[in-house]
């Protein structure tokens, strides 16, 4: 996975200000870290590379063509429509440009909601213990036994109308905070027994003070890793909801594109240009989030540091 080879830094070359100094102080440590933790860097490059392409696409392409009937139908890729068009006359390049950030947005909203709720629940539970802990643990244990996707299906059926992408993100977040709550709680439990927390408590810091000044800074790497994992899980849930027909039919997300593909059986029609781009985009999203998350794990949990 490593393309760059670690070259020992030339120590005899004294930093002489300007670029050399900047190189020595900023670039070289990043390069060194990249060699030690390639998955984080590869993941970030993949994700931001894709977002960069999407940004360029927004500038040079007419994204209004995402609407049905705006182009001739079922065109294989040509110079005019580089990604081809689908059975309902959408330009698939426009879909790719609009859908990728939209799907990421659902994931990000859901991830932030889930990690926010999960972190608050975890701290309440692990720091104050007692009745609160018992209540939160019961909710978490029961919640883990109920697949979020099924609850979301029930909610969506009963709401009776199509959810906007933001509403879907919030709904997914509300149903997926229990797993992060559980894992963060166990981290807090370990942390609250540590000497520096004990010392802080003895010197009279309040509960909130300990949580925000002593524990939070140490947990941020772990919470970030959980956030990335949550975002990936939420995107998976959103695409699942959309693929089974509960998405917003007018939104050009990646999941809806998959839905239309299944609906019009594009595979057996031989329209590979219809399903390959959303599939590649989803694969890149998941692989990059997976690499970032395992890279962050390595960063936040030094015990995992490559012993093998």
């Amino acid at each position: 996975m490593t393309d760059s080879v670690a070259s020992p830094t030339q120590m005899n070359k004294a930093p002489s200000g300007g670029w050399d100094q900047f190189n020595e102080e900023r670039i070289v440590p990043i390069k060194k870290y990249a060699v030690r933790n390639p998955s984080l860097i590869v993941g970030l490059v993949l994700l931001f590379g894709m977002l960069f392409l999407v940004g360029i696409g927004h500038l040079i392409w007419d994204t209004e063509m995402f609407r049905p009937l705006s182009t001739p139908t079922r065109l294989a890729p040509t110079a005019e429509h580089p990604f081809g068009t689908d059975t309902q006359g959408r330009d698939l390049l426009a879909i790719a440009i609009l859908g990728t950030p939209l799907t990421l947005r659902i994931g990000l909203i859901a991830g932030v909601v889930a990690i926010g709720l999960g972190t608050v629940a975890a701290f309440l539970s692990a720091y104050y213990r007692g009745v609160i802990d018992g209540a939160i643990r019961s909710i978490v244990d029961v919640g883990l036994a109920m697949p979020a996707l099924l609850i979301l299906i029930l909610v969506r059926i009963n709401v009776g109308r199509e959810l906007s992408t933001d509403e879907m993100g919030i709904a997914i977040g509300l149903t997926s905070w229990v797993f992060p709550a559980r894992t963060i709680r166990s981290q807090v439990l370990v942390m609250r027994e540590q000497a520096y927390v004990e010392l802080s408590r003895l010197s009279g810091t309040s509960g909130m003070g300990i949580i925000f000044k002593e524990m939070m800074p140490n947990l941020i790497p772990y919470i970030t890793a959980s956030l990335v994992a949550s975002v990936a899980g939420a995107i998976l849930a959103s695409i699942g909801l959309e693929a089974i027909g509960l998405g917003n039919l007018s939104d050009p997300t990646l999941g809806m594109t998959i839905y239309w593909n299944i609906q019009f059986s594009s595979i057996t029609l031989g329209m590979w240009w219809w399903w390959v781009p959303p599939l590649v985009a989803i694969v890149i999203v998941f692989v990059s989030l997976f690499l970032i998350s395992s890279g962050l794990d390595e960063w936040s949990n030094p015990r995992l540091r490559k012993r093998v």
Binding site: I157, V159, G245, L279, F290
Partner: protein
């Protein structure tokens, strides 16, 4: 919640002094206690889930069943009389004009009899009937796939976490780990395209050929297996990575343990240290992992079935959503939650048998 904590307090194993009774009696006593506790928790989960399923439609302030029934009644047709009758029964038992408490008790009584109601779209058929028929397909596929993926993935992870493995292994398995990040239904689409559509080696969709009727002949069994291969591989490929990652982490954790160093110092054979010392100890958290991801496996499979039009629960769920057949959807959700809670209960109960170190557990 209060019920649960009370139970936990009453039944928590008291401190057993080591000089009374044989160790076997102590173990069976604690196990019995533990089993009862886990079973009560299983009931508790099912009860809460059933209540949540009851509350969600009330919160939305809409009545999807009534709306659907009205729609069907307006369309008219052959089912008119049946629908009329059903609308009346529904109104009587679950109608929103009834007191909430009556609605709730009626619903709970039906559930405890495992009566999931009647389908709206396929009217005379009961939900039990529909769900049971498709459940066979889902369980058959999922059982095989989960066990295969568990074994293959755990083995792969065990080798990846073993310092004395051959070096090339890493380059074979690492791409496999990345596969675990790709949703199963996308792998399913790729497999359909390459193997079924381009190469034509295996059927494109369905659980058996449309021209045949289910029977017990050899040809039919082969037909079913041929249809199951692609969905199975779609799930196995991505699940292997999950198991391998967990196992690799646990194997790495065992490396520093004292018993490993001792086994090495005793001059035991590498294969023995690997199987009996490292794998044996690393395996246990994998079993807990199985309990945790069961829900994900089931929902993942629901979508894979949708992609393949496999006649399992996923396909029925999709049909029900399309026809807004609320009772079938509700029935499937209840059955899946029951299944997951039941499997978690079994794993919890079996776990102490697998790990003799867990003799007293105060959780």
């Amino acid at each position: 919640m209060t019920e649960q904590s009370e139970v936990a307090e009453n039944s928590s194993p008291s401190k057993l002094s080591s000089f009374t009774g044989t160790s076997l009696r102590i173990l069976s006593g604690i196990l019995g206690n533990f089993v009862v506790k886990r079973f009560l928790f299983f009931l508790f989960v099912v009860w809460i889930a059933a209540t949540v399923i009851f509350i969600i439609p009330r919160l939305s302030g809409q009545d999807p069943v009534k709306e659907k029934l009205l729609l069907e009644a307006q369309r008219g047709g052959a089912m008119q009389t049946g629908l009329d009758e059903m609308a009346k029964t529904y109104q009587k038992r679950f109608g929103l004009d009834q007191p909430l408490w009556t609605q709730y008790t009626n619903y709970m009584i039906d559930l405890s009899k495992l009566n999931l109601g009647t389908s709206i779209a396929f009217f005379p058929r009961t939900v039990n009937d529909i769900v049971f028929e498709s459940l066979m397909w889902t369980l058959g596929l999922m059982g095989t796939v989960t066990i295969l993926a568990f074994i293959l993935g755990t083995l792969a992870g065990a080798f990846l976490g073993w310092p004395r493995r051959p070096g090339w292994l890493q380059y074979v398995f690492m791409p496999l780990l990345t596969l675990s990040a790709i949703p199963q239904y996308l792998l399913a689409m790729i497999l359909i395209f390459i193997i079924a559509f381009k190469l034509g080696w295996l059927p494109l969709f369905g659980g058996y050929s449309p021209s045949t009727l289910p029977n017990l002949s050899w040809d039919f069994v082969v037909d079913v297996l041929r249809h199951a291969i692609l969905p199975a591989f779609a799930i196995i490929f991505s699940a292997i990575g999950f198991w391998a990652i967990g196992m690799r982490g646990m194997m790495i954790n065992t490396q520093g343990e004292d018993y490993m160093i001792q086994a090495d110092a005793k001059g035991l054979k590498g294969s023995r240290i690997f199987m009996r010392y490292a794998v044996r100890n690393a395996l246990l958290p994998q079993v807990t992992g199985l309990a945790l991801v069961l829900g994900t496996i089931v929902t993942g499979q629901v979508l894979v079935e949708r992609v393949f039009s496999y006649p399992g629960i996923g396909d029925i769920l999709f049909q029900a959503i399309r026809l807004s057949d609320f009772f079938v959807i509700r029935g499937i959700v209840i059955v899946i939650i029951l299944g997951i809670a039941g499997a978690t209960f079994l794993l919890d109960v079996l776990y102490p048998l697998l790990d003799p170190r867990i003799k007293v557990r105060n959780t």
